[in-house]
């Protein structure tokens, strides 16, 4: 739980490692800004959903997908600043216990995209302690890249929702998502098997 023992990793690298592990059309919801820019840059998949606003809703949106499709693993990628906007969502998820939901928090302690201002939590709060205190017992810091991959593997077969926090550097996202919300939503629904293309 102590962040001082964790390596500072890179968002794009960690995201790419996650995507490389997905073999069963797992859904991935990317929170706003750099989080979904790096998801986009890691290689578009039909099962990816990219938020273009509604800061803080990556976990709730992923929860909705997880409740709709309990047999599909659903990942949500969220920044620490975004998560701070919607901490109550952690308790909602803890109460519902969707075992197919895996939450990943990219924590650099800053609002990178707006000018790297520190978040109010940066020097005082611990995301994993908050998650654990919110009722998510399966919450861990990833010590390094190898540990991150191990935690993802464990979460894939867990019987409870998992949260993995990753300490990341202050680098901006590598790519830029195409901002076409209708197409993003429609492609995602195709990717989830809800609809067929016209």
């Amino acid at each position: 739980m102590n962040t001082r023992n964790t390596k500072v990793m890179n968002r794009f690298d960690v995201t790419s490692r996650l995507i490389a592990k997905l073999k069963h059309e797992e859904a991935v919801v990317g929170g706003i800004g750099n989080t979904n820019f790096d998801l986009w840059a890691a290689g578009h998949r039909p099962q990816n959903f990219y938020m273009l606003g509604s800061m803080g809703l990556a976990f709730p949106i992923a929860l909705g997908v997880a409740l709709a499709q309990p047999d599909r693993r659903v990942f949500a990628l969220e920044g620490d600043g975004s998560l701070l906007m919607q901490l109550g969502a952690l308790s909602t998820i803890a109460a519902l216990k969707p075992k197919n939901l895996i939450m990943i928090v990219m924590d650099n302690g800053i609002y990178q995209i707006t000018g790297a201002q520190p978040t109010p939590a940066a020097n005082v709060a611990d995301i994993v302690a908050i998650a654990t205190g919110s009722g998510l017992a399966r919450s861990s810091w990833a010590a390094d890249e190898e540990d991150f991959e191990r935690l993802v593997d464990e979460a894939m077969s867990a019987a409870a929702p998992s949260l993995i926090a990753v300490r990341i550097d202050d680098k901006p996202g590598v790519g830029a998502t195409r901002r076409d919300p209708v197409q993003i939503r429609e492609r995602f629904m195709h990717g989830l098997g809800v609809r067929e293309p016209l």
């Binding site: 949106i61 909602t92 919300p181 989830l192």
Partner: protein, 183 residues
């Protein structure tokens, strides 16, 4: 006697909350996140008691909108229950998620702030609701009569789904009895 109670007697066994529950079920809307409200209590209680529905509280209305949006994309229909003051927290989420992504977000809003409101803050925040809905050109209906409830709710849900657009169904005190100072 509250007007809503008189209407209830006039309509036999039918209550406003019974009609809402049956209309949700008939339209296969099974996921119901809510932020509670005194007036909505009988509806919330009956939704919890019915295993057809997955009914649960969220910490904020935005969260509930995110959940039903994700569920819609995953092939499951939902609706959000809230109070007027809760709707007032939603402008950004409506403008950046529900509207641009064309999600048929179905909202039931218990209307406070009018027809006997005793809390000045509720009266003020209520005045922001329709301007926000109108500014985004969102479909909304204020339901005042029990005999119109089923038609408005059922048609509005079907329209939301087929046109992939949000709708707000505002449950007025004339329908529900509202919340009064002595309760």
């Amino acid at each position: 006697m509250a007007i809503a109670e008189q209407q209830k007697q006039g309509a036999g066994e039918k209550s406003w909350h019974g009609i809402v529950l049956q209309t949700l079920k008939r339209n296969e809307i099974s996921l119901i996140p809510y932020v509670p409200d005194r007036v909505l209590t009988p509806l919330i209680k009956n939704l919890h008691a019915d295993p057809f529905f997955t009914t649960f509280a969220t910490a904020r209305e935005e969260e509930a909108v995110g959940i039903v949006s994700g569920a819609w994309m995953g092939g499951r229909r939902g609706a959000v229950l809230m109070q007027t003051s809760g709707f007032a927290t939603l402008a950004n989420t409506l403008a950046s998620l529900a509207v641009p992504y064309q999600i048929p977000l179905i909202m039931f809003v218990s209307e406070r702030g009018t027809l006997g409101e005793f809390n000045y803050g509720q009266a003020l925040v209520c005045r922001t609701m329709r301007p926000v809905l109108d500014s985004l050109a969102l479909e909304h209906h204020t339901i005042t009569r029990l005999d119109e409830l089923e038609f408005i709710a059922d048609r509005s849900i079907k329209q939301a789904v087929t046109t992939q657009a949000p709708v707000a169904l505002i449950l007025n005190p004339l329908l529900t009895g509202g919340k009064t100072f002595d309760k």
